[in-house]
Symmetry: C2
Subunit: 397 residues, 2 copies
């Protein structure tokens, strides 16, 4: 597997573009007659574009995606559906493709009418600047940003078992409201693997489950979450190598989202090992990255591992505090804080001093070994800072 | 039912006291040969005093409670159990009561040895100042405070069906880490109702379920949560009137905790009506008060009701966005924001202006009617402010 440049445009023939005006942005991605699958929010309040795209993807075929930022087109009743369909129609007409082959996604504030005049102008601008280039992928990634502070792209190529080279490229946007499942996230992934819609769906679900579903920023779940995987089928047949590469792309994009969590000053990666079950490993690692107390301790560079233990304790995961190991880690240093339930890093110890030094880093790893079984999971998150409060208390004004 | 003064000392014969030294405090409550019951944290990591008190209460009898703040005596292994027992022994010896009739509770930082020298000196001081007076109840309430900014007491008297007057008094401490069930809370309730330990337990569980279990501050659950109800049995026999009065005391104490949530600048009360089931009403109202996005919007006085809708959507409660009503309310004003799924408070409307004015208040009520059934629930919370982050990022240093 090799990291390559170009984001979604790393895949031959994929056209992309993006344009912005003030807080609004529009991205268009075109790859005609693709096979496609998607994963959506599990929120019971579902935005109009999600309803439309679910319908579009019923036949597993897709030729283009149009996405906007600045307005979620959610809780907008029948008018919202009409607006979402108007977005897809504008793209279909111009590109001379089927209306039913255009997906749509939106992100932004809930409960406000989509400003179609602005969005339509941005769609036209995007349609006029489509190209297959790293710059075009970058523009598409930029145009879907809301409170994101940097655009997020990633691409790899890998060799399938049949010897063919397959490429996978993705763009995504975060950055608050991430979890319990996915977040306010849009993610569009292109590839050239040969696969049915069902095979793509199976691969995508597995990849999302261990990547985007393991990111926690604030515990809120959005009404608009959409991850679309589309393939032109020009390379070899889907196999385990593709699954692995897709998982890698989604995990790298998920980490970028965590690193750009709203107000983030420190990134945290939590590994829970030795869990009695896979779901225990997941729930424990997510409880730790999601804990407001762990997050504020991280912000304050405070090695308050007691909050880590407490989070595991209420996660629902099986645990025995008498045999737990806890390790803190940064790029340069690693220290065991608790070993088999005994505290090593108490006041005055070198272990505590090292833990304090580790907490000063921008990227921290917390490793918990429950010593109960052989299941592991990783979760990705960030600290809770003054800026998270600032960003979210001023959002709609 | 009548609100009376005196907190836990409103009940005749209850002795109380409290003393503090720096960040440590000790409260002692004495009421000999009481019947008692308790509710504890459901966290799998359980502090030493919780283990000891569970054991003490097995026979449903209690004569005294000793509680300390400043150190949770949690994740402190066998030494922690020994320290907790030493606390109870010191009280039992001095008061000449059974060791097995003294409960113990702790709140504070996890994973540090209990500083027994300081705590013992405070116990002695408290034991020498026991009295039955409003001042003594206040001192006990003060001594268990951690990040609380005000002490919390409440007492009522009510007439039972047999004509006798029963009194109920409580003290509690919050204030972060409240939810999913209870929080970092200690609560001690005295009464004179005649009841078995089982009857007290039944009444207490019901009362906690609709009060302390409906408070959300930050979604973390503590390892030390303890609510003890003790009765000297000198008044009439337990009945529904007692249940109602106990529910009222617990709800008022729960509201005080929400109003003193860490960093709180605004209090929020959420009522979900018209739910299809009681658990739906509870989960929807708790999702709203617990949402970081609703909490930051509250802090920013931003009537961002879309976040309210989204929280209901991911709460797991049955809902149909097309028939939902949402109302915002303050002391002086009420405005319907959404009626049967239609937005009334959009840009430029008087409704939105009123909503903005309501959000300027210190206490806000959010009322959601799901219009699906006849189940209701209320949940209590507060905003997420810069100070929450400040308090929790500096806690253990």
């Amino acid at each position: 597997m090799k990291i390559i440049k170009g984001g979604i445009c790393a895949v031959d023939g994929v056209l992309a573009s993006g344009s912005r005006k003030g807080k609004y942005g529009v991205s268009v991605i075109v790859s005609k007659e693709n096979t496609a699958s998607a994963v959506f929010t599990s929120n019971k309040v579902v935005a109009a574009p999600v309803i439309v795209t679910k319908d579009v993807l019923k036949d597993g075929k897709l030729s283009a995606i149009v996405a906007n930022s600045g307005n979620a087109n959610c809780f907008t009743a029948e008018e919202g559906i009409a607006s979402a369909r108007e977005m897809t129609k504008r793209v279909a007409d111009k590109l001379n493709i089927e209306l039913n082959d255009v997906a749509v996604a939106s992100t932004g504030i809930i409960g406000r009418k989509l400003p179609l005049d602005i969005i339509n102008a941005l769609i036209d601008e995007s349609l006029n600047t489509l190209e297959n280039s790293p710059e075009a992928s970058f523009a598409a990634a930029e145009a879907i940003m809301t409170t994101d502070t940097f655009s997020k792209e990633f691409a790899v190529q890998t060799t399938l078992k049949d010897g063919s080279i397959v490429k996978i490229g993705g763009i995504t946007k975060g950055s608050g409201m991430i979890a319990p499942n996915m977040g306010t996230m849009l993610c569009f992934i292109t590839t050239d693997v040969k696969a049915s819609a069902e095979e793509l769906n199976d691969a995508l679900k597995k990849a999302v489950d261990k990547s985007f579903n393991m990111v926690v920023v604030d515990g809120d779940e959005s009404t608009n979450d959409t991850v679309i995987l589309m393939s032109n089928g020009s390379s070899g047949k889907i196999d385990e190598n593709f699954h692995e590469a897709l998982g890698y792309v989604c995990t790298e994009l998920a980490k970028m989202m965590a690193k750009d969590g709203e107000g983030e000053t420190k990134y945290m990666e939590v590994h829970v090992n030795g869990a009695a079950s896979s779901s225990d490993a997941k729930s424990a690692s997510k409880a730790i990255v999601g804990s407001s107390l762990v997050k504020t301790a991280l912000f304050g560079a405070d090695p308050n591992w007691g909050r880590v233990v407490a989070a595991v304790g209420y996660s629902g995961a099986e645990m025995d505090e008498k045999i737990v190991d806890i390790t803190f880690k940064s790029d340069n240093e690693t220290v065991k804080i608790v070993e088999k339930g005994s505290i090593l890093a108490f006041d005055g110890t070198d272990e505590l001093k090292t833990a304090e030094k580790i907490m000063q880093n921008d990227e921290i790893e917390i490793i918990v070994d429950l010593n109960l079984g052989d299941h592991s999971a990783a979760a990705y998150g960030c600290d809770l800072s003054y800026d998270y409060v600032k960003i979210n208390s001023e959002y709609s004004t």
